[in-house]
């Protein structure tokens, strides 16, 4: 499955023919050691998932009050949320895709510089890595709020853009698709940079030299050697960015960088769950979000063929 992309050691460990007679027997100790993990998964993953699935099929209680539902098999919930909220579903995935694209565009050169070019100066390398990770020391919410202030109408940024006529006199930045995608890109860049860095850091530059010796242009070397070799990092980075970005509801929230026209699936789920008390709709949307992400990710991992590289 999708997560095999991350587990680089697991397949080789099981595939290796075992010669140790102890490992060949089914050991009760191993099962016992697995128990906490399994219990954890059952309690905190399987239970909520089943509960979510059951909730998504609930139907409103007859003559019921707000928030009152009965267990049923009302599959129409799914049809209703898709017909009502399809713009938000489309928007979530396009924003997430855009954010992933921009994050990759920014992170790749950065990771390449840290991982390859800066090898000669280990101090610079560590310093730059610290700079990538440093924003994590401040709360995600605070950083997003800070951007909201930086993008406010009377701020230096917006006033300068207006002075340069890059922005119309009545235009805004906060509450637009731009600010939401900007926020998503900004907030998830470290998740893109770090996996890219770990693969590029191991990149054997002799391959690049060999390519050069064989008269490949720098672009050809990059396209035929560097990119394929860094594919595991690209796949891991894009997944770590795309998945949380698609479900994010902070950046697009009206209280942060978003407006009424930028609401994503997370915001719709929040409104249905907390304000409208429409739990079945919220649950159905959550299931749709999970399923779509799972499908996209599975296809992506299969198509990019990274299993062999890992």
């Amino acid at each position: 499955m999708a997560f095999a992309a991350f587990s680089s050691t697991a397949p080789s460990a099981t595939a290796a023919p075992s010669t140790d007679p102890v490992a060949r027997r089914r050991s009760p100790v191993a099962l016992f050691l697995l128990l906490p993990g399994i219990l954890y998964l059952v309690l905190f993953f399987l239970t909520p998932l089943v509960s979510l699935l059951l909730t998504s099929f609930q139907s409103p209680r007859e003559f019921g009050d707000i928030g009152q539902f009965d267990y049923a098999f009302r599959w129409q919930n799914y049809v209703e949320v898709v017909t009502t909220y399809w713009p938000h579903i489309v928007r979530s995935f396009s924003y997430a895709l855009a954010a992933t694209f921009f994050a990759l565009l920014i992170s790749y050169p950065l990771a390449y510089f840290i991982g390859v070019k800066a090898r000669k100066w280990p101090l610079l390398q560590s310093l730059m890595l610290v700079l990538v990770i440093a924003p994590f020391f401040i709360s995600f919410l605070l950083r997003t709020l800070a951007w909201k202030q930086l993008f406010s109408d009377e701020s230096f940024v917006v006033q300068s853009l207006k002075a340069l006529s890059l922005l119309g006199p009545e235009a805004h930045v906060t509450g637009t698709a731009f600010s939401v995608i900007f926020g998503l890109t900004y907030n998830f860049i470290p998740f893109m940079t770090l996996p890219l860095y770990t693969t590029l850091e191991r990149l054997d530059v002799r391959y690049l030299e060999a390519g050069n010796d064989l008269y490949a242009s720098p672009f050809q070397v990059f396209r035929k050697i560097t990119i394929p070799l860094s594919m595991p990092g690209i796949v891991a980075g894009t997944l770590l960015t795309f998945i949380p970005a698609a479900g994010d509801y902070i950046n697009a929230s009206r209280d942060f960088l978003g407006g009424t026209g930028t609401q994503m699936m997370g915001n719709v789920i929040e409104a249905n769950f907390l304000v409208l008390q429409n739990y079945p709709s919220a649950a159905a949307l959550s299931i749709i979000l999970m399923t779509v992400i799972l499908v996209i990710v599975s296809i992506y991992v299969k198509r990019s063929g990274t299993e062999e590289l890992l």
Binding site: R26, V50, I66, G67
Partner: protein, 404 residues
């Protein structure tokens, strides 16, 4: 189906057995998971009943502690971080209060406690202060305990206008803590002409610089009042829809910049919005922090008046202690002490006179002690039944989500 005989080679036989074993393992695991899921299903189905919960037994006589959930910045605090009025309450009655700023939004607080309330369990609070409409819903569901007025003699000080509200006639279930207006505010430097009515928010100069509240009853209440509807009286879907149409138009043509909860204050401060529908107490605080920058008015055609009310959750064993607490805060001198700090409207008659002794300037502030003319112009949004709550909330939220 009969299984194929195993090959002769002992090595391969062993490998196949091993493979079969692991397969069995996976199957048992799945079966176990299935059983777990069935158990969850059954457990979930069994709790679907809709009977009203019953109140917990009162242990106030022996347990002199009290847990109070309230909003942030909603009680007097001294520099050391303790609450002077609560300390005095303890000295007076021997009841120690664990005060928690647990409520930051009616909906999310309700979301956290509703399942326990439905089962009649203790939610970890003996008293919570929630807004009128949420209290209305909780009373409807039987999630609150009836208060014994004999234990609250000071309740006689409750302002007459708040003694009978449609969701709780005679105040048997809820007692106001603090209240406020929703009205209009504007930036006096950037928009000196000011506002008089909701209509003024739609001025072309304010295009894209107007903020409104995500609290449906305040934003829709003001728009409906502007359209000449008495929001406390009898009105129906038709009147609401007319106001929603107006609201939708202003959002889609970009006149209204954004629709926010508490964070609207930041927008006023960073001047993304120059005029907005706001809560009175916030403007008092914003002006104190930023040097009297904003004007506030209750619109000519009326503003909304809301209260946060003490309610005793159904599972609380400390109702009598709560009654003592309410009685204490309905002493005008204590109410004035709180009002001097929180800048909201106190529901206690006589607090203004008591305030004269503490801070005569605050006693003159019409946002904390509104005069009769202001009060006469403030309306309480009428209680909605379950079906109305769903329809109206649905229409309002669809605009907030941009799905309309």
């Amino acid at each position: 189906m009969k299984s194929k005989p195993l090959p002769a080679d002992p090595m391969i036989r062993q490998l196949i057995r091993q493979a079969q074993n692991t397969q069995m393992g996976r199957r048992t695991l799945l079966a176990g998971a299935g059983a777990g899921a069935t158990a969850i299903t059954l457990a979930a189905c069994s709790s679907g009943a809709a009977a009203k919960p019953t109140a917990a037994a009162d242990t106030s006589a022996t347990n002199k502690t009290l847990r109070w959930d309230n909003w942030a910045l909603y009680i007097d605090v001294d520099d050391a971080g303790s609450y002077p009025t609560l300390d005095a309450f303890k000295a007076q009655t021997g009841i120690s209060v664990k005060y928690t700023e647990a409520v930051d939004d009616n909906n999310s607080y309700y979301g956290k406690v509703k399942d326990q309330l439905a089962l009649g369990q203790d939610i970890g609070a003996d008293v919570a202060c929630l807004t009128d409409w949420m209290v209305s819903r909780m009373i409807r569901f039987g999630y609150t305990q009836e208060l014994d007025h004999a234990n609250i003699p000071n309740l006689a000080n409750l302002l007459p206008s708040l003694q009978n509200v449609d969701f709780d006639p005679g105040r048997t279930m809820s007692v106001p803590w603090q209240g406020g207006f929703a009205g209009l505010a504007w930036n006096k430097e950037k928009y000196p002409q000011g506002l008089k009515s909701v209509e003024d928010l739609w001025a072309p100069e304010l295009k894209g610089r107007v903020g409104v509240l995500s609290e449906m009853r305040d934003t829709m209440g003001l728009i409906m009042l502007d359209q000449g509807i008495d929001i406390s009286g009898k009105w129906g879907e038709e009147e609401f829809t007319a106001a929603i149409d107006e609201f939708k138009k202003r959002v889609s043509d970009g006149q209204i910049r954004n629709i926010k909860g508490n964070s609207y204050k930041e927008d006023l401060a960073n001047e993304d919005t120059l005029a907005a529908i706001v809560w009175s107490g916030d403007i008092v605080q914003l002006n104190a922090e930023n040097g009297d920058k904003w004007g506030f008015i209750v619109p000519e055609k009326g503003g909304t008046l809301w209260n946060d009310n003490f309610v005793v959750p159904i599972g609380s064993p400390g109702k009598k202690n709560v009654e003592e607490l309410i009685n204490y805060y309905y002493d005008p001198a204590v109410a004035a002490e709180v009002a001097a700090y929180v800048n909201y409207i106190t529901p206690v008659a006589g607090a203004k006179q008591a305030m004269m002794a503490i801070d005569p300037l605050l006693a003159e502030d019409s946002l904390i002690f509104p005069d009769d003319a202001t009060l006469a112009n403030a309306y309480v949004f009428r209680g909605l039944d379950g079906a109305e709550e769903q329809t109206f909330n649905g229409q309002f939220q669809s605009i907030l989500l941009g799905a309309a």
